[in-house]
Subunit: 213 residues, 2 copies
């Protein structure tokens, strides 16, 4: 069994967007605004630098009960005692992550299209489904699913689903209506002038949307 | 205890240099020529691609009893059942590798200068010491140690040492004289027109140098 986690407002960090403010400061503000789970993503830095950033985030997040997941690097997640990992289709498999991190780790998997569904197995605790809308954050992102395909795929996934890709306060309601258990954002918080306010607005939009579903 | 390994001729793969011939084909030729241990290094590709290359190499090397180590990615080494990992100063620590891979894994550590010596602990099975000579392979390589400093550092290291950085058949004898247990090469084999012949010549040079030491 995995520890409980709340996908309502899922923050994915970006090294460039947080460079000026600092990743720890950005996450601190985002969490104060209502982020419920954090994924540390940095595809460019060294493992040692990623581990250092992860340790700094854990010191901040663990007292608040907010899980920290590491993108891709299962070994870094193990080394720093993170709550889990998030793996994409180009990363190692969820089963490989489970074998290293053990039964209590939170393991998330990216699903970008119908073709990815066979990679979803019993070791996966939640799915990051998207891109739902067009996004400029990931240069190599798959085509946007759109709400109809998102909703169809979501119904075929038995674990909680967090939507990702182009999500803003303006389309959060449609995202929840399409079946998402929460929203994952990068630029909507990391690139915001006031990450705390951005997070608070997004969290409120999720709550409002849920009341309408 | 680690399984026994032979550092005499240590091949580090390079994705660009092996792109045309293929990494598996390059390693096959190199092993036929006398390579005794292989490190799979690719800092640019995905974990999944690295794992696929590693599995293909293992299928080839394991029947020959030649160990395969994975550079940096401890999680990939675990996932494919590699013989061990090689970590640099910007990677996770040897202890982090040992915690994931267990007591039988071969764990190597790069030492580039006197300042790195404190990172050498009891979990390390061998050291990659260098760059000994100037090298063009790694754009971010540390300054070359030269033979005097190499020999001084080597005497302070209690585990086997493989020399790396700018090693060719022309300076192999000096490298062994400076205290190396073996030579690690990238371009001298990966970029050779005939990797098998290059490996055979280097292996013979190591053997000849040992007879003179």
């Amino acid at each position: 069994m995995s520890p409980r986690f709340d996908l309502s407002l899922y923050l994915v960090t970006d090294p460039d967007m947080t460079a000026q403010r600092g990743v720890v400061e950005t996450v601190a503000a985002a969490v104060a605004g209502g982020v419920t789970i954090v994924q540390l993503r940095d595809k460019t830095g060294s493992a040692r630098a990623l581990a250092a950033a992860g340790r700094a985030l854990l010191a901040q997040l663990r007292p608040l009960g907010i899980p920290l997941l590491v993108n891709d690097r299962i070994d870094v997640a193990h080394a720093i005692g993170a709550d889990g990992v998030h793996v994409g289709q180009e990363d190692l498999s969820p089963a490989a992550a489970r074998a290293i991190l053990g039964p209590r780790a939170i393991i998330g998997l990216s699903i970008t299209s119908r073709a990815d569904l066979p990679t979803l197995d019993a070791t996966v605790d939640y799915v990051g489904l998207g891109p739902l809308f067009p996004t400029g954050t990931k240069a190599d992102a798959a085509p946007a699913l759109g709400e109809t395909e998102f909703a169809a795929l979501r119904r075929r996934i038995l674990v909680p689903v967090v939507a990702i890709g182009g999500i803003t306060v303006a389309n959060t309601a449609r995202t929840i209506t399409a079946g998402a258990d929460g929203i994952a954002v990068v630029s909507a918080i990391c690139a915001a002038e006031d990450p705390r306010a951005a997070a608070a607005t997004l969290r409120a939009a999720v709550a409002a949307a849920r009341r309408r579903v």
